[in-house]
Each structure stands twice: as C-alpha cells, then as structure tokens.
Amino acid sequence: MTQVTTSIPPPAVGTPVVEMRGISISFPGVKALADVDFRLLPGEVHALMGENGAGKSTLIKALTGVYTIDEGTVTVAGTDHRFTSPADSQAAGISTVYQEVNLCTNLTVAENMLLGREPHRFGRIDVKAMNRRARSVLDRLGLSIDPGSSLGEHSIAIQQLVAIGRALDIDARVLILDEPTSSLDADEVAKLFAVMSDLRDQGVAILFVSHFLDQVFEISDRMTVLRNGKLVGEYLTRDTTQLTLVEAMIGRELETLDRLEHQAPTAAPDEARVPLLQVLGLSRKGSLQAVDLEIYDGEVIGVAGLLGSGRTELARLLFGADTADAGTIDVRGSRRRFRTPRSAIGAKIAFSSENRRAEGVVEDLTIADNMLLTLQAARGWLRPVPQRTRDRLVEEYIKALDIRPPDPAALMRNLSGGNQQKVLLARWLITQPELLILDEPTRGIDIGAKTQIQQLVAKLADEGMSVVFISTELEEVLRLSDRVVVMRDRAKIADRFNDESVTVAGILATIAAGGAELKEEDSDA
C-alpha cells in the first residue's frame, strides 16, 4: 500500500491485531466460508462488505467463537487462538455488537451493559457503582436514559445503542459492529460515528458491517469484500469508488440497474378494458379508511407511504388475511368476498408478507419444500404434486431467480435474507398468480438481490402479471411502477400515473401535505 497524505488518518500499516488465514466453515448443505483471509489493523475502521449470504456474519461469528472453524487459523495480537465460545474471544479483547440486538430485555440497562464484569463489593454486585459506570458510558453515546430501567421499556434503537454501550465498556482491542446502524436515525448514527472515530484514534481496531454504502465510505479506512463465501479483495476506502465496490460485491457490471431505471412504463391502460381487480370503498375499522383501487393486467402499482400508513393493511385486506368491514372487490368483473387467504389464492392472488421471518419462511424445511408449500396447499392435501413436477419446478425457479446455494435440499435457515426472499417469491410464482402483492420484498437485502428482484418484477409485468409493489424506498417504487398510490394515515391520498412529473420529492411533498390537514387526528391515533 502506498502512503498518501490526506485528511483521513492513514491506517497504520503495522502488525495486524487480528489475522485470520484460510478460514473455512461449512453448514449442512452450505459452504459458508471457503479459504478466507482477513486482517484487521489497530487504529482503523475496517468495513466488511458483501451481499447477504456472502459470509460476513459467518466470518464475524468465526472470529467471536460462536461458530467453530473447520479450517484455518486465527491470530489475535500475535498469539494463536482457537475460540470455542464468545467468552473466549471477549477474554482476548474482542468485543462484539451483533446484527440482531442480543440483550436480555428482562434485565436493566446497566445489567445488560455490564453483566459478566459488573463491579463487586463484599461479594455482591455493587448496583450503585454499576449504574454509575453505565451512566458514564451512556453519556458518551449521548443517551439520557435511566441505567436502572428495564431494557424492554426502550425502543429497538435505544436497545441497539445499549448493546454498543456494552461493547464500549470493555477496553477492547477489537470492536466488531455488525449492522449497528440499521435501526438508528441520522443523529444517532452521527453520535456513533463520533465515538467510533474516538476509539480509532485511541488505537482500537473496528470491524464495521453496514448495508449503507454512504456510511461505509464516510467512516471506514479500509474494506474487505466477500462474495459467495470467498474473499474478493481488500481495498483502501479512499482509493475506491462506490461503483467499483458494488461491482466487487455482486461480481458483475451495474448496467442492469440503470437499464431498469430507464425502462419506460407500459402504456396507460385502455379505459374500455375490465380491470383485473376493482376495489371500491374497501375499509376496516382502525386499520384502513375506504380505498378505491383499479388494477389492470400487466400493471405494476407502487404503493408509497411511511411505515404505518396503511400499506400493509391494504395488502392484507386485498389478500383476505384480514376481513374488510365494508367495500367490494371485483375480480375480472365478478364480485368476490375474501374472508381467508385461501379464497384469495383461489382468485389467483398472491401475497408475500413484509414479515419474512414470521409469516413466510419455514426455517426447518428445505428450499424445495418451502417453494412448494402454497402449490400443494392450493391443490389440496389429497393430490400430491408428482415428484417429477416438483423437481422440475424447483430446479427451474432456483435457476431463474439465481438462488444460492442452488441446492433444493439446503435448509431454509441457512440461507441469507435475500435468498430466502427469492424462495418466497418462487413459492408464489409457482402458483402462477395473476396478481402478486409484494410487501417490502427488498427490505434488509443487499443490492445484488434487490436488483434481481426488481428486474423480476419488471419481467413478470411485461409477461402480463399485475403486481402491487409496496416499499419504503421511494426510488424503488418510482423505478418500477406504472402507477403510484400514496398512503397516509391509513388512507389513500393520491393515485397517479408514474410519468416524468412524478418525483421522490413530489411524493414526499404529497405525504407531507396530507399530514398538515390530518395533524389533529394524528395525536388521537
């Protein structure tokens, strides 16, 4: 590496504090990591990059002793280690904040931060000293919460900060932050970054994982990119552009993203045609105010709106997951009443829930079983899908959606979020629906899989399928949809064709304007 003098402190090129060599880890049916090298220098923020399923979390858990490595060596500060538990790696000075908040909500904030190394006096925990110590760490993070309060009382964002506080309290040589910012707002991220810079200046090596590229470029000095469990390379952040990074992550050129962006919306539907779905005054007390909606064949309806604006409620009513109090649904001109998802599936409507983990994935079944669930349910249990059809369908969709690993027998729980989402999509596509309702299909998945899903939606629509696409990311909604429906306060406030005049700023303004007149109701809700 050439030394360049810039405002960013140059990473000290010295002895790495952590050196992992030739790391391999396998799970049944999945080779999670294959011969990966990784090094972490003191006094740097090192971003570990890769798509979902690239092996980032696995590499971290190998370093922290959660997983035992099959092959390879781990050296921390010059000594070889073979960690068999998180306690081992903590003892070696590695402190970790995991992706999901891994704390105990039934304990107090201070206990969560200090348990395992709490101050003692006369053989008992010194609660006062513990709360004091927790207080000082919380102050560093700019959090003014009572250390003696129960953790469960606080929001996920605060819990995440408490988890970071736990990691900070250890005088760690190595600090690992796996997606620490996913539930934080901009201010909290800024505070976290300030603390990270401080620690870096004190010589702490920080390993940082984030899906937000801007954040990675803002804070990191160096990055390592993984793809499919293999090492792609190590890069200096200041010598890298976002484009080259993303290309390294997904292993192909990014032109597809642009092509989709410029894809012209399909022609406006002919007024004379019967809509696939005509919804009039559909409502449910406390969850959705009367909504009218028309969906034509081959149309992509983007639903924009903030969390809790009624997007999901609309989808659930269309699918019969909740029952409407009032309103009608006509499918191809004939009146239908959906009391259960089963009747909606019968009308060739499919719904992929935003809550992938709880309402979609069956973790203990294989990819093939997960894909075939709905088809089998639609056929009834007495008419099993013939083995040959099953094999053909599963193979076809694994290939079409580029599901990794391409092994029908791999367990769903071992798949990354993006690949799980693809399996769920395949589950519905197999039933050949006419209307596909996707609720946040790209949330929490990496850019590669995201692009693939967006392309798939565009392709399906070209083939004549209607899609209701719900997403928090307005750019994505605009890129894909023919028509944009804007929701706010559990009501539809706008419905317009997605032409050049519709912009992200315009939609935000619409949402905001809807807010001005509904402000009174807001505090009542």
């Binding site: 922290t64 959660v66 538990s85 998180p86 306690a87 903590q90 003892a91 970790t96 995991y98 891994n102 704390l103 105990c104 909500t105 039934n106 304990l107 206990e111 969560n112 348990l115 395992g116 709490e118 003692h120 053989g123 008992r124 925990i125 003014s144 919460i145 009572d146 003696g148 309060s149 129960s150 469960g152 009382e153 606080h154 736990r166 505090s523 009542d524």
Partner: protein
C-alpha cells in the same frame, strides 16, 4: 391522550416519568400479597382466632419444606426450565435418612449422605439438560421416576425415625417474643430463603440466571457462563429437595416411598402464584414465599371451617393458579 402527545415531544421526559413509576416486575408479587391480606381479613372476620399471629407462624411451621423446595424451583423456573423430580427426591431423601438412621449411622453422616445424593441427582439432571439439550420436562420426569423407584428399592414399608437428634429437632421449639414460637425447621427454611434471595438478587450467578431466562442465546453471546448457570440451578434444586426431604423426615419422623406424592406440583404452583413467569426471566424469590404462604392459608381456611372437604384446597389452588397465569399473560402482553 396528553401523555401520548408528550411522547413525541420529549422522549427523555417520558423516560424520567417511567423511572419514577413503580417497576412493573413488582406487580405480580403485589397481587399475591394483596390476595393474602384479603384472605386473612376474610378469615379473621369469619372465624375466631384466625388472625392470631401464631396462625401465621404455623403457616411457616407446616410449610417449611415447601418453602425450601420453592427456593430451588424458583431458580430453575427463572431460567425457563422446570424440575418435576423434587417430590420424588423428597421421598427418596426421607427413605435414605430413615434407613441409614435405622442402620445406626450418626445423624450428621445421614444428613451429609442425603444432601450429597440429592445434589448429585440434580447435577446429573442439569448436565443432561444442558449438554444433551434434553427438554427439562423430560429429563426431570425421568429423574422423578428414577428417584421414586429407588425409594421402593430401599423399602416398600414406612420406616420410623427414632434417632434422638432428629426427634429433638422435630419436637424442638424456637421461642419468639410475645409468647409465640416456631420450629427449628422454620429457622432452616428462612435461612435457605435468605441465602437464595441473596444469591439471586445480589450475585453475578443470580443475575445470569435472569439473563438465561430472558434469552439464553443472548446470554451466551454476552459471554456469560450459561453452562455453569444451567447446571447450577438444577444442582441447587437437587440440594433444596434433599434439604426439604430432611425437614419432611423430621416433620413426619418417618421415611416412606409414598411421601410427598405430587409435591413438585405444589412447589411449581407456589412459584407461579408468587409471580414468577414459567417462561423464565421474571420473578422474585419473595414472591415464592408469599406463594407458599397463600397455599398454606387456603389449607388453614379449610381446616378452620371444618365443614368444607379437603378437596376445596385443590379447587381453590386450581382456580388461583389459573387466575394468576392469566394475569401474568396480560401483564407481559402489555409490555410487548
């Protein structure tokens, strides 16, 4: 409505308001205490002599062994586990005590033998549960059958205890100011309770018990010693069962295979009525004490009445249990 507006205005203010409100974790215990006081009020209005402090003390005298069992059971349930073996281990302990005393062992040797065997059974159960990932229900069910079977191996008959030390302990009386008295068993039980409360609420081991009950995987990732705690709580429960067995042997001055049938369920009921969540992570040892006292009060109520059949004890315990489980469910649901 006004509070929900201030939520959006200043979250820190809300946190401060929350900090001053009584912690929710005391609510179930408070409910138990309120019920206990209510029952005593009703009892003293209805029956003469019900409100006598000695009646309260007798609750401890008659339920000393149950309190000791409850202490161990609270540890186990707080980790999210369950120990069905305690009743059988009590019976086995009375049998070991009675038979070794009959064989002429000195009392101290008997006591050590009983405590060691109970502790070993508990440790064994904990090891199986933790390292082989066996459901606590199944593992402790196995030990329950094992211990009960071992009783019959020792003797099918009831064995009387005539050893001088045990009889002295059984008939002993500890005077309290005001002319009241309790038995030495009560002193033992209270000491066990105090040690248990100290460990649970003041030490790292105790806090780790709560952490494991809250989320075992989180506790593991936090680097806490989950294995030690999980095996530890069953060891403690085994030790408590053996000790409760000794107290029961002294209380009945006999060892018998059919002693303490179903007592594990009384212990679980006491813990749950005391406000500890069966899913683990929430509850106080103090609650268990009130749970035991409440069960005792129901029995006292029925014996004072004289006309009610003893089945009413079971009916009231069943009803109470149901009510408490529902209340707990509502409390935790609101928290989510």
């Amino acid at each position: 409505m006004t509070t929900s507006t201030s939520v959006t205005v200043s979250p820190t203010f809300l946190d401060r308001v929350r900090g001053y409100s009584p912690p929710r974790r005391y609510l179930p215990v408070a409910a138990t205490v309120a019920l206990l006081i209510g029952m005593f009020g009703a009892g003293s209005l209805r029956y003469q002599g019900f409100a006598d402090p000695q009646v309260v003390l007798n609750l401890f005298v008659d339920n000393a062994f149950l309190l000791v069992l409850g202490v161990g059971m609270t540890f186990v349930i707080l980790t999210g586990g369950i120990d069905l073996s305690v009743g059988s281990v009590v019976a086995l302990s009375t049998m070991i005590a009675a038979s070794t005393l009959q064989a002429g062992w000195p009392a101290i040797a008997t006591i050590i033998a009983v405590l060691v065997s109970g502790t070993l059974l508990g440790t064994l159960m904990g090891l199986v549960i933790h390292y082989f990932e066996v459901q606590p229900f199944i593992a402790s069910l196995a030990v329950m059958f094992l211990a009960r079977g071992l009783c019959y191996l020792i003797s099918v008959e009831s064995i009387p205890i005539r050893e001088a030390g045990f009889t002295a302990f059984a008939q002993g009386s500890v005077p309290l100011p005001g002319g009241y008295h309790v038995t030495p068993s009560v002193v033992v039980a209270v000491v066990v309770f105090a040690i248990g409360a100290w460990v649970l609420h003041m030490t790292r081991f105790g806090r780790t018990v709560y952490a494991v009950g809250g989320s075992e995987s989180s506790a593991h990732l936090m680097g806490l010693r989950v294995a030690l705690v999980k095996v530890g709580v069953y060891t403690i429960s085994g030790l408590c069962s053996a000790l409760a067995g000794l107290l029961f042997a002294a209380y009945t001055l006999s060892g018998y295979s059919l002693h303490a049938v179903g007592m594990e369920l009384d212990a679980i009921a006491a813990v749950v009525i005391g406000g500890t969540l069966l899913t683990g992570g929430r509850g106080l040892l103090l609650g268990t004490m009130f749970g035991v006292l409440l069960l005792g009060t129901i029995q006292t109520f029925i014996s004072f009445d004289g006309t009610l059949s003893s089945w009413w004890t079971k009916i009231s315990i069943g009803t109470l249990l149901l009510i408490f489980v529902v209340i707990q469910r509502l409390l935790t649901r609101r928290q989510n």
